[in-house]
Symmetry: C2
Subunit: 441 residues, 2 copies
C-alpha cells in the first residue's frame, strides 16, 4: 500500500494533452482519496493475457497485477459470466445451484476441517466478517496483526492495516508484531522469535483485559515486504494464539489461488490449519467476488445467532466468474506454471543481485517474489528511492510493477499467473538494463 | 431484514426430492449464517424482466426485488458487461475513461454541491466509508440512526443496524431515534416530533462526550416499515444535526435510482441536500457496484489524509453495468413508469384496504409501497402473523414479496422498475384472493 511511486500531480505539465485532459476530468469528479500510479500515469484501454495496451497501441508487460489471475480479459471468464448474465442473477435467499456447485469445488481444495464458506464481494468485507466472527466466537476483542499489514478498507479492517499510514491509527484493541526479517536476522531463529513476539502481544492484550480474539496474518506477508521463509515459521505463533483461546485468520487475498506455485493456499506452507481463511482479489479475475472459509467450530455460533446477508455475495454471476477462474487454473496447470516460471525469475534475480549489490535480498515463492533494494549492502540500509526509480524506469520501458514493504524498498513481483518463461526473460532483461543505466549515472 | 417468513428447516420433509437434495447439499457447504426465504423455498433457474422461473418452468411474478432494477437478465446490461469483459477490467490506479464518463453522468443527476464520488462494491462498504469520512471530518464519533434501521453488514454498518436483532447490539456511540408513525400519530406533527427526538439524541451524544458525527437515514426508511410522508419531514432534523456540527448521510441503497417515481433520489422529497449519499443495490442490476457521493467539503479532508483504495471499486466492468442501468432507466422512462404504475398499485391497495380492514395503512411512493397489517383496526395492533401468512400464500400463487418494519407486519412492495400496469393488476388480484381466502377461514 506504499505509494512512493505515485503520481502526485507535479508532472502534469509534461504529459501529453489527452492524458492531461483525462486527469483534469478525473480530478473534477472523483473524490480526493483517489491516487494514480507513476509519475507518468498509465492509461490502458485494452488488456489481454499478461499485457495491457494504451490508446496508441503501446504494449505493457504486466508484472504487478494479481487480480487478473488467469490473464486480462480471459475469454473463458467472459463467456461464463456473459452466459450467466443472460439467464439469472439473484441472491442467496432463493435456492440456486451454482453457489452450491462452486462451494463444493472450492472447499475440496481445502483441508477437511475447513468445511464452510460465506461469500462476500471484496476481501475487505471478508476480513471484516472474519473479525466479527472471531470476536463473537471467542468473546474476546483483541487482534494481533503485523507491523506493516494491509487487510482492507472497512473501518474494522483499516484498524488492522497500519500500512495505511499515521492518519489511520491502528485500533485500540490491536497489537502489532514485527514480521521475521530473514535478510537481516538469523533465519533459523525466525519461527521462535516471531512466536515470542506473538506471545508478548497475547500477554499485552490479556493485561489490558480485552483478550485474544484472533491473529490475522497474510500467509506470505505481502505488505510487510514478502516474508516467505523458512517454511513453517508461523506454526509456533499459531499454537500460542490457540493456547490463548484465539483464532488464526489466514489472509489469502494476495497469496491464494495457486500463486505460490506449490499448493492452492499460502497457509499450507506453514503446516498448520487456520480457523478462518480470507479469499479475494484473484478469485473472480476482477469480477467482485470474495469469501470467508472456516471451520464449523469457528463459524457456527455466529451463524446461528446473527443474520449475515450480503446482497451481491455469492450471486450466480460472480460465482460464474469464480468458477471459470478455477477451470482455467486447473486446465492450464497454472499452479505448476507459477512454480516453474517463478523459479526462473528467482534464479534470474539472484544472478542480477550478484552483479548489482543494491539488490540485497531475493525471496518469495512461485509468482510472488520480492527483491529488496539497499543503499549499503553491508549495513543493509533500505533504499526506497532506488526502488521508486526502478519502478518508474521500468514503466518507461512499459513494464508494470510496484514496490512494497515497511520501507517501500521491496520490488513486488506478482504478475498474472499465465506469465511465461519468455515474459520472465523480458522482465529480467529490462531490469538488468535499468540497473546498469542507474549504475552508469 | 426481518425473517418472520423464513424457511426454518421444519418443512423440509414436505418438499420435493430435488429441493430437499439441494438444501442438504447447501447446508453442508454454506455457513450457518445463510437463510432461505419461505416455508417452501423458491428455486429459480432463470429470470427475465419481472419474472423468475423454476426448473419446472413455473413463472413467478417478482414484486420484491429491487436489485434487478431494470429487470432480470436485462439484455442491454448483459451486452455492455460482456463487451467490457472482453476488452479491459482493471483498477483505478491506472487512468481509465469509463469511470470518468460514468461519474460525470451520475453526478449530473445530483444537486450541484454533491460533486464527488467514490466507488465501492457494496452498499455496506459505502455506508462503512461514509461513517469513516463523517467521523474523520467532524472529529466526533456519535451516529444517530433509526430504531429499526438496516444499513449493512460490516462491523461498523452492523452497529447502526438494530434490525439485525438483539445478538447484534448497536454501537456504544450510536443513538437510535424512532421514525414517524403517521398511521398512529398526527402526521402534521411528524416533522417537528422527529426533529425533537433527533435533538434529544444530539444532546445525549454531546453529554456523553462523543459529539455528533452524522445522522444516517434511509430516505424512505425502508427497514422501519417505509415512512414516506409528509413530504419534507426530515428537514428540521437535518438542520438540527448540521447545527450540532454533524453530517447528514442519506442512505439511497433502497429508494435511489428513480424507484420513488418522482425524482432520482429519495432525499429530494425532503428539500434539503445531504452531505453524503450512499448508493447500492440497483446500481448495477446485480453486478456488484456501489458508491458514495458527497460534497467536496465533506470528503476532501479524508481523501487528502487517508488512502482509500477499493480493488474492484469502479472497475470498467462494474461501471459498464452501472452505465447500462442508467441507459435503460432513462431510455425506457422507468422513473415515470414507477410513478404511474406505483399510483395504480397505491389506488388498488387502498381499495383492498377499504374491503379488508386488516390492511390498516397504505403508504409509500412510486414502486416502493407499504401495506401495514393489523389485528385490531381500532387499536391498530401490529399483526406480523397475518403479514407472514400473506407472504407465504402469495408465494403459493407464485408471487414473490416480503414483509418488513419494526413488527414485521408491513408488506414491502418493491418490484423491478419495468413492472407494468398488468403486473400490478395481477398482484392486486392475487392479494385480494388471499385476503378473501384468509377471511373465509
Amino acid at each position: 500500500m506504499h505509494m512512493a511511486n505515485a503520481f502526485d500531480g507535479s508532472a502534469i505539465d509534461g504529459l501529453d494533452p489527452a492524458a492531461r485532459s483525462l486527469i483534469g476530468r478525473r480530478d473534477a469528479v472523483l473524490a480526493s482519496s483517489y491516487r494514480l500510479f507513476y509519475q507518468e500515469p498509465v492509461a490502458p484501454v485494452r488488456g489481454e493475457g499478461v499485457h495491457l495496451y494504451d490508446a496508441d497501441g503501446n504494449e505493457y508487460l504486466d508484472v504487478y497485477n494479481n487480480v487478473p489471475a488467469v490473464g486480462h480479459s480471459h475469454p473463458h471468464v467472459q463467456q461464463k459470466v456473459s452466459a450467466q448474465l443472460g439467464v439469472l442473477n439473484t441472491h442467496t435467499r432463493y435456492l440456486t445451484e451454482p453457489i452450491i456447485d462452486y462451494s463444493e469445488r472450492l472447499l475440496g481444495l481445502f483441508p477437511d476441517a475447513l468445511a464452510k464458506v460465506v461469500y462476500t464481494c471484496t476481501g475487505s468485507e471478508a476480513v471484516d466478517l472474519a473479525l466479527r466472527i472471531a470476536r463473537y466466537q471467542t468473546g474476546a476483542r483483541g487482534i494481533i496483526c503485523t507491523t506493516h499489514a494491509y487487510h482492507g478498507t472497512t473501518a474494522s479492517a483499516a484498524e488492522i492495516s497500519p500500512s495505511l499510514g499515521p492518519n489511520n491509527p491502528v485500533g485500540s484493541e490491536v497489537v502489532l508484531v514485527d514480521v521475521p526479517d530473514t535478510y537481516r536476522d538469523d533465519p533459523t531463529a525466525a519461527a521462535e522469535d516471531f512466536a515470542g513476539r506473538v506471545r508478548a502481544a497475547i500477554g499485552d492484550l490479556q493485561e489490558r483485559g480485552v483478550g485474544v480474539a484472533a491473529m490475522i496474518v497474510d500467509s506470505i506477508m505481502s505488505s510487510d515486504g514478502v516474508q516467505s521463509h523458512p517454511v513453517g515459521f508461523l506454526a509456533p505463533a499459531v499454537e500460542a494464539v490457540h493456547s490463548a483461546g484465539g483464532l488464526w485468520i489466514a489472509d489469502e487475498v494476495q497469496p491464494g489461488f495457486g500463486r505460490l506455485g506449490e499448493s492452492w493456499w499460502g497457509f499450507q506452507r506453514h503446516g498448520i490449519d487456520p480457523d478462518l481463511v480470507v479469499l479475494g482479489k484473484p478469485m473472480g479475475n476482477g469480477v467482485p467476488v470474495a469469501a470467508l472459509v472456516g471451520t464449523e467450530a469457528a463459524t457456527e455460533r455466529f451463524g446461528q445467532d446473527i443474520r449475515y446477508f450480503n446482497t451481491f455475495g455469492g450471486n450466480p454471476v460472480s460465482i460464474a466468474a469464480a468458477s471459470a477462474v478455477l477451470d482455467v487454473i486447473t486446465d492450464d496447470l497454472l499452479v505448476d506454471n507459477a512454480r516453474v516460471v517463478g523459479g526462473r525469475l528467482d534464479a534470474g534475480l539472484r544472478e542480477l543481485a550478484a552483479a548489482h549489490p543494491e539488490i540485497g535480498d531475493v525471496r518469495g515463492s512461485g509468482l510472488f517474489i520480492a527483491a529488496e533494494f539497499v543503499s549499503d549492502p553491508e549495513a543493509k540500509t533500505p533504499d526506497p528511492a532506488a526502488a521508486a526509480r526502478i519502478v518508474n524506469e521500468l514503466r518507461r520501458k512499459r513494464i508494470l510493477i510496484s514496490a512494497s514493504g515497511r520501507h517501500a524498498n521491496v520490488l513486488k513481483i506478482r504478475p498474472p499467473l499465465p506469465f511465461s518463461g519468455a515474459d520472465a526473460d523480458r522482465f529480467l532483461t529490462a531490469l538488468s538494463e535499468v540497473l546498469t543505466e542507474q549504475a552508469g549515472r
